[in-house]
């Protein structure tokens, strides 16, 4: 707790023939973050032919997956699936080297790919044909205005026939120009459509070259006359019959695709995962150094994993390996990857810390603190027992359903669950159950404070919490800097503010106990002097910065007033809904008490809306108070997160010797 996991550096040199099995072991167990190794006399390793094949097959297979996915019967879905998702079954694969795996994949592909491609090709071809028939029908619909046999509109040995549409206002000049160019050897049949003119031009072959540029100049849109004989109306019937047959073909092809999806989807996804992991595994190769017989790798791992990793390396290499595990040096401080380490009750909150940025190796991990403060602020801003209960029920269901996946939904639901306890507790203190619903219904609700009557108390409470939060932040920063030997910075940057805050607190308390006035002034004064000293390093800008930073601090502090504002906003929205319900409650049409029905609907819908919008507000602003105000006092968040070399396994599992 408070400190990230201790990391050590591992260096391994062993024989090339153990490379595949060693990397596979590390990849499957995901305990080591491999780093680039620079050795002058040795060359870098690189992916071989099999790794390149893995990369290329993963693309081939992902195409098959995309195709089959589209024709898969959708399963489940809905709310139940969201809350209680099913675990996907993992198929085992016996791993005996990448060569063998590639061979297996090739066997699989040669059996399956042609079958899938055939159906895919059939579907695409049929779809293209359907499109073409549809456009033919559309053209025939246009031509039906002419009522001419379609076969007359085809060019012959002697004649060139052009059918097309042109803008109505361009038609007249077009006709004139064409007639002039062909010296009257052109027949033009036309028909007015809406804002276009449908026209048939008949030229002698010899005149066509002269007429063609003119047609282009007036942007005549040519129509490709469909094959066939008879009037357009007659032909449309023929084409529609054709269309119906093609659509039937498409349906049957789609049925085939659905069958294929049912038969192969799981397998294809399985092999896709195998290939993608193989491809990812090969991405570390350029980080290794190699000679003809040996290779070397280096990386970081948590100290607690050292015995396991060492044992495995010895087993995999039959003991023929040079292994060196050492402590990080001072220079490597910025390089050490950070893996947060917290007790299980705080672990899901690591998500919030990681979202901002993990600490540096010599910084403190604020997760346990924000576990408490984030949840408490959330509860303070929501402040309603019933709202807390609703959130608790939803969050508890999600926690239960997603626990085994340890995914983002689980972590988020867990943070909500903890926060909802604070929400309920605050709701009891402020006597808020769906806002003032019970009060309006005539019950007496016990409460310590009333959100509206005691709004000023809530404000004071919020500001007191705020200054305590900031004080905690500065204190943590002070301790961390002292421990890291940055005494001067600790005193100037952090202690100054701690004294100022203490001074303000004493001065405030002096209104009740005057003897605290003097120490308060003294503390405030010393703090202020230290603070001004800390700004002197900025030279000429110091005066401006003193002013702006001091008011920055005041701004940060006042920012905690949002605790009060959002608490009141929740109570306010709930109250608005309750008042509206009260208004309609008594309405009745004749003997029918319609108001009660409307009231219940309004109440349920309104309160649910209120929970949603206020919980969103509480989440956002509670997080903001951590990130902006609290972290601003001591936290950099500039560490590099630990990214172990790890396989992604959802539907597959490797079995191998290790």
């Amino acid at each position: 707790m408070f400190k990230p996991e201790e990391m050590v550096r591992v260096e391994v040199i062993t024989l090339n023939r153990y490379k595949d099995s060693l990397l596979t072991y590390l990849h499957e167990n995901g305990m080591v973050e491999i780093r680039e190794l620079d050795v002058e006399i040795a060359q870098k390793d690189s992916p071989n032919e099999y790794h390149r094949k893995a990369a290329s097959y993963s693309i081939t297979i992902s195409r098959l997956v995309d195709f089959l996915k589209a024709y898969r019967k959708s399963t489940g879905g809905g709310i139940k699936e969201f809350i209680f998702p099913k675990e996907r079954a993992r198929k085992k694969y016996r791993y005996e080297g990448i060569e063998r795996l590639i061979k297996d994949v090739e066997d699989f592909l040669s059996a399956v790919e042609p079958e899938i491609k055939a159906v895919e090709g059939k579907i695409t071809a049929t779809q293209t044909e359907i499109e073409r028939i549809k456009s033919d029908i559309a053209i025939l619909e246009l031509l039906s205005a002419l009522n001419l046999d379609v076969s007359y509109l085809k060019s012959t040995d002697m004649l060139e026939i052009v059918v097309g549409t042109v803008d109505r206002n361009k038609f007249k000049p077009l006709v004139e120009e064409v007639t002039r160019a062909t010296e009257n050897r052109a027949v033009i049949v036309s028909k007015d459509l809406k804002d276009k003119v449908l026209a048939v031009f008949v030229f002698l072959k010899a005149d066509y070259d002269r007429a063609n540029p003119i047609l282009a100049k007036y942007s005549l849109e040519r129509l490709e006359v469909p094959e066939g004989e008879g009037t357009p109306r007659e032909l449309i019937a023929v084409y529609e019959e054709k269309l119906r047959r093609k659509e039937e073909e498409l349906e049957s092809a789609k049925k085939d695709a659905e069958m294929l999806a049912e038969k192969y989807y799981e397998d294809v996804v399985f092999y896709q995962e195998l290939m993608e992991n193989e491809r990812d595994k090969s991405t570390v190769l350029p980080m290794l150094a190699r000679t003809n017989m040996t290779f070397a790798l280096t990386g970081w791992l948590p100290r607690s994993d050292v015995p396991r990793v060492l044992g495995a390396i010895k087993r995999v290499t039959n003991g023929t390996a040079y292994i060196n595990v050492r402590e990080p040096t001072e220079e490597e401080l910025d390089e050490i990857p950070i893996k947060l380490k917290n007790p299980s009750w705080a672990r899901p909150f690591e998500m919030l810390t990681e979202m901002y940025g993990v600490p540096k190796y010599n910084e403190i991990d604020p997760t346990p603190i924000i576990t408490f403060t984030y949840s408490f602020f959330f509860g303070f801003m929501l402040t309603d027992f019933m709202y807390g209960l609703i959130i608790a029920i939803i969050a508890a269901l999600l926690v239960k359903g997603h626990k085994k996946f340890n995914d983002g939904t689980y972590k988020f639901a867990y943070t909500l669950l903890i926060s909802s306890f604070f929400t309920m507790a605050m709701g009891v203190i402020f006597g808020s159950y769906f806002g003032n619903a019970f009060d309006l219904a005539g019950f007496t609700v016990p409460r310590v404070w009333d959100t509206f009557q005691d709004a000023l108390v809530v404000l004071q409470l919020a500001l007191a919490i705020g200054i305590a939060h900031l004080f905690t932040g500065y204190t943590i920063g002070f301790i961390v800097k002292l421990r890291n030997g940055e005494t001067k910075d600790a005193i100037l940057d952090q202690l100054s503010w701690m004294l100022i805050i203490l001074g303000i607190t004493f001065l405030f308390l002096a209104s009740k106990n005057p003897s605290l006035g003097m120490p308060g002034k003294a503390l405030f004064g010393v703090g202020l002097v230290l603070f001004i000293l800390s700004e002197l390093k900025n030279g000429a800008l110091a005066v401006l910065l003193v002013i702006s930073d001091f008011f920055g601090f005041v701004g940060s502090w006042l920012s905690y007033a949002r605790l009060m504002a959002l608490a009141l906003a929740t109570a306010g929205i709930a109250m608005v809904i309750n008042i509206l319900v009260q208004m309609v409650w008594g309405v009745s049409i004749g003997p029918v008490p319609i108001g009660i029905l409307i009231g219940i609907i309004l109440f349920a819908g309104g309160q649910l809306f209120s929970v949603a919008i206020n919980a969103l507000g509480a989440f956002v602003h509670s997080l903001r108070l951590q990130y902006v105000e609290f972290f601003g006092t001591f936290y950099s968040g500039e560490g590099k997160p630990f990214q172990p070399f790890r396989a992604k396994r959802e539907v597959s599992e490797l079995e191998f010797e290790a």
Partner: protein, 161 residues
């Protein structure tokens, strides 16, 4: 002016200006949301939440409207400041000030909508930026919250329940 003019102006301006600003904000964000949904329908949930953020100002306005109506007695009972005495005028003028504070700080919904719209674009490119986008948008809301705090102090200390 009669006290009723102050009071109703206060209530109207609080809900009116804040509501109009929220509408602008949601409008700006909504235009971006429609765009990214066209690109990929899975953006819908994230875009919807971000689009909803500039709505809070109108809620603050509405709460202030109700508080003003309640403390002045228009809601539940009779109008308390009907007589044209100095005290009544002072109290109703304070209510006007409170309403105006919330209304004007509610204008922060417009820049919030701009931030939300940019965040919606960012989320479409990289869904991991969702929470960051929410936090950025929430920054602009700070001013509206300060306005609400100020107004609540004015109502509670200046007029009281």
């Amino acid at each position: 002016m009669d006290p009723i003019v102050y009071v109703s102006l206060g209530a109207a301006l609080a809900a009116g200006i804040a509501g109009a600003a929220s509408a602008f904000g949601v409008g700006i964000a909504g235009a971006a949301a429609a765009g990214v949904v066209a690109e990929d329908e899975r953006n819908f949930k994230n875009a919807l939440i971000l689009e909803g953020l500039p709505m809070t100002q109108s809620i603050y306005g509405l709460i202030t409207l109700f508080l003003i109506l309640m403390v002045s007695g228009i809601l539940g009972g009779g109008f308390k400041f009907a007589e044209n005495t100095t005290e009544n005028i002072i109290k109703s003028a304070i209510l006007l000030g409170a309403g105006l504070t919330v209304g004007l700080t509610g204008l922060s919904a417009i820049p919030q909508g701009i931030i939300a719209s940019a965040s919606i674009g960012a989320v479409a490119k990289n869904p991991k930026t969702f929470t960051q986008g929410i936090i950025f948008s929430a920054m602009a809301e700070t001013m509206a919250i300060f306005g609400l705090v100020g107004a609540l102090i004015m109502i509670v200390t200046g007029v009281g329940f």
